[in-house]
């Protein structure tokens, strides 16, 4: 019997376990396997094979029965996913069944999840921006949250490294708050955007700039992957491999090493702590198809289950030594939950371009990096926001009466309508200790696990910022000559931006943070957490590129520590 156990243990033992196969987990698997480690990559959901399983990617509009809309049956099983635009018939199968995976909302939190190999790397927005020292120093300067244990110089080479592999297209701007990177050629602005850019930069004498979105879409062939075909159907999965995803990029690299074992349907219930060594010795998995419990063992564990997925695993990994969750003697685990707040800005109509149109559907917009609370620009709140947006020519025609119909309406709607230009703010949220998740044992998921409860809200600093997000946008659009400029604030609930961060933050002091500067749990040195949960502040840039860089950096450190027998 003991022989059998020993054999089973040996079969289930790897050098490293990576929990989660999304953006950061894919990177961890790639880096660790390329450094020679035998890696077990665990994914709670099904497999999705690159290209083959992108079942809707090549469908024509009329081949979707409901033309993109979701049915009453979809609404019944996906009551959270239906709250906002991402959940459609076009990639319906990429979104979680909320009934299987419930959670508790002490306050409303919109939790968008995709449980499958690749995770949200298949559906992400692909906007890829570096953080700058402005971001790494804000906490220290204004006293919100704790100081980041790293600075831009620590991460810069790793940004270079991940950008070169992932393929980020963009324009260098030499803008201090938004460092340039290793860019593929930028996508082109359209004629309205070019005009708006010119007029904004003239009016503010380049103290505000507008650049083309920096996006993980390939503008040229790169690393054996095809270039963007300008279909703008990315979130269905790209048959050309033209945007960065686990499937198109990191997974093939990890598989090529021969060192990877990918195990889908493997829901990690907890990390197994060994009090003798004071380290993790492995994980306990629930096979999400058979409900069987299986233990896997490794020298190091990378936790990449998405911010709140990872936080759940850590909170659920209790032991006599870690009664409140693994590495949680600080009491910070689950706290400081952040998301960007957005859905506030302005838009207007561009005149004078009626003889111009575009060709192709560019899966990208423009970006105005943060300029508030920098230099002489002072506001009545801390931090700031950037804008995403763009100009486009739709089929709206002034001549069409309200709810009009008939031959004339049909012919008008078949023609290009007015040009519009919009700017939508993405604002930084402060790390508030009281914004948190915790385990709610009164509810169970499909596999009998307790669930997360959310208690999180935006506050006064965010609210003040939103006023400027509207007014600055309107001011810039008016300066750029737009007509009928209108502002909007459609409200923003935490979770909606799908940039959740911060619940296992990095810091210098084990008393006030969960992770050290290497994304290593202060108290459990062979466990690394490198997804969004590690973020000490949120900045206002889209964060995924930073997760990639932090992951590659942590993998490099972990392997060098392993070699030194420090783990």
């Amino acid at each position: 019997m003991s022989n059998l156990n020993t054999k089973a243990t040996a079969q289930n033992t790897y050098d490293a376990i990576v929990i989660g196969s999304g953006i950061s987990g894919g990177w961890a698997a790639k880096e660790l396997t390329e450094k020679g480690l035998k890696v077990l990559l665990l994914e709670r959901g099904r497999n999705i094979e690159h290209i083959k399983d992108y079942t809707t990617a090549m469908k024509k509009p009329w081949e979707f029965e409901h033309r993109g809309r979701i049915t009453e049956a979809n609404k019944a099983t996906h009551p959270v996913q239906i709250r906002d635009y991402p959940y459609t018939e076009f990639n319906e199968s990429f979104w979680v069944n909320d009934k299987d995976c419930p959670y508790t909302e002490v306050k409303r939190f919109d939790w968008y999840r995709g449980f499958h190999v690749g995770g949200k790397s298949l559906m992400w927005g692909r906007q890829s921006y570096r953080f700058s020292d402005l971001n790494f120093e804000d906490n220290l300067k204004d006293g919100h949250g704790v100081d980041w244990p790293i600075r831009y110089k620590d991460l810069a080479p790793w940004y270079d490294y991940v950008e070169k592999f992932a393929g980020i297209s963009g324009q260098a701007e030499n803008w201090p708050a938004l460092p340039d990177g290793q860019f593929l050629p930028p996508m082109e602005m359209n004629c309205v955007e070019k005009s708006v850019k010119k007029r904004i930069e003239e009016k503010w004498n380049k103290s505000r700039i507008m650049t083309i979105g920096r996006t993980a879409n390939l503008t040229v062939e790169h690393g054996g992957r095809g270039k963007c075909q300008y279909r703008n159907l990315c979130s269905r999965g790209c048959p050309f491999g033209a945007y960065f995803s686990t499937q198109s990029s990191t997974l093939p690299a990890a598989v090529a090493t021969g060192n990877l074992t990918l195990r889908p349907f493997s829901l990690v219930n907890h990390i197994i702590y060994d009090k003798e060594t004071q380290k993790a010795k492995g994980v306990m998995v629930i096979d999400s198809e058979t409900n069987e419990n299986i233990e896997f063992f490794a020298k190091i564990v990378f936790v990449n289950g998405s911010t709140l997925g990872s936080t759940f695993v850590l909170l659920n990994s209790t032991s006599a030594e870690h009664p409140n969750g693994l590495g949680n003697s600080s009491g910070q685990l689950g706290h400081n939950l952040m998301d960007h707040h957005f859905r506030a800005g302005a838009s207007g109509r561009a005149e004078g371009f009626d003889d111009k149109y575009t060709y192709g559907r560019r899966a990208n917009g423009i970006y105005v990096p943060r300029y508030q609370n920098m230099g002489n620009d002072k506001r009545d709140y801390v931090r700031g926001f950037g804008y995403q947006g763009g100009g486009s020519r739709g089929t709206w025609h002034e001549e069409i009466a309200e709810m009009g119909f008939g031959a004339e309406v049909k012919d008008l709607m078949s023609k290009p309508g007015s040009w519009n230009m919009g700017l939508g703010g993405f604002g930084e949220t402060l790390p508030y200790f009281e914004n948190r998740v915790y385990i709610d044992k009164t509810k169970k998921d499909k596999w009998g696990q307790p669930v997360l409860a959310f208690d999180c809200e935006f506050k006064e600093n965010e609210q003040k910022m939103r006023i400027d997000m509207m007014n600055d946008a309107a001011e810039m659009l008016e300066a750029a000559g737009m007509k009928d400029v209108q502002t909007y604030d459609n409200g923003s609930t935490p979770g909606m931006a799908i940039h959740e961060m911060g619940t296992a933050r990095m810091g210098r002091d084990p008393k006030t943070s969960v992770l050290n500067k290497w994304n290593q749990i202060h108290e459990v040195k062979n466990v690394f957490v490198t997804d969004g949960s590690c973020m000490t502040s949120a900045a206002c840039q889209n964060p995924s590129l930073t997760y990639m860089a932090l992951t590659a950096r942590a993998c490099d450190f972990a392997v060098s520590e392993l070699k030194k027998n420090n783990l």
């Binding site: 409901h66 004629c191 955007e193 075909q229 859905r343 207007g348 089929t395 519009n420 230009m421 993405f426």
Partner: protein, 237 residues
């Protein structure tokens, strides 16, 4: 996460209700989706839709096809009837709308038929295209008036509510100022649903997307500034 693409779509739709923009499919640009329809679409669902229940009689299905063709008739390009929008509309109402909206839709359809009988002494499917347009315009104007009345009422309530909220502390109304807008709770309207589904069904049909509009499956490259060609059609996607 999926923001960039969508924010572009969203921001270009300023003239319209923002919620439309958020929920509308990109190829149906501003102006085509009514808030009411979107609201119905978003609203609480019917968890046990009877899968094989026939919502519409055979005559009503004929009416739907003619109704769609009145909204988007044959012009230089085939209209909504040729594009199969009648059956599409019937299927969509059955599968994508909650029961109470289905009921409103059916009542609207019956009312349309009653109006036709009253005014022309004939069924909607028997009257001329011009007569159908005339009749439908009456329904359209009624719908606009009802929506406006409802909107005025909502705004009044909102104003009254706001003045009470101001007096409450942030603790009592945590997070309220930033609360995402409630899903539309407006009453569903027959004409708004019919028009919305006709536009959706038509401009995403093969005829609508590739004859009325121009469909390019794989553009291959992007050009941000091209000259409009004579007779330039809008792109579908």
């Amino acid at each position: 996460m999926a923001q960039s693409e969508s924010s572009v779509n969203k921001t270009k739709l300023n003239h319209m209700n923002r919620r439309d923009a958020v929920k509308s499919v990109a190829f149906l640009m501003a102006g085509t989706l009514s808030a009411t329809t979107i609201g119905v679409f978003l609203e609480g669902c019917n968890p046990n839709p009877a899968p094989n229940k026939n919502l519409f009689s055979a005559d009503q299905e004929k009416t739907l096809a003619e109704l769609a063709d009145t909204i988007l008739p044959d012009t230089k390009t085939p209209g909504a009837k040729a594009a199969g929008v009648g059956p599409f509309m019937a299927m969509m109402v059955k599968e994508c709308y909650p029961e109470h909206a289905q009921k409103v839709f059916l009542e609207g359809l019956e009312d349309l038929e009653a109006k036709s009988n009253k005014q022309f002494n004939k069924s909607f499917i028997e009257i001329t295209a011009a007569e159908r347009s005339k009749l439908l315009n009456v329904v359209r104007e009624e719908t606009i008036a009802k929506q406006k009345a409802e909107k005025d009422k909502t705004e009044l309530e909102k104003k009254q509510k706001q003045s009470t909220i101001v007096q409450k502390s942030e603790k009592e109304e945590p997070g309220k100022p930033l609360a995402a807008k409630e899903r539309y709770k407006e009453t569903p309207y027959f004409f708004a649903i019919a028009r919305d589904l006709t536009l959706l069904g038509y401009f995403t049909s093969e005829i609508g997307a590739s004859q009325a509009m121009e469909y390019i499956a794989i553009p291959g490259h992007y050009d941000g500034c091209v000259d409009m060609k004579p007779g330039q059609r809008a792109y579908s996607s």
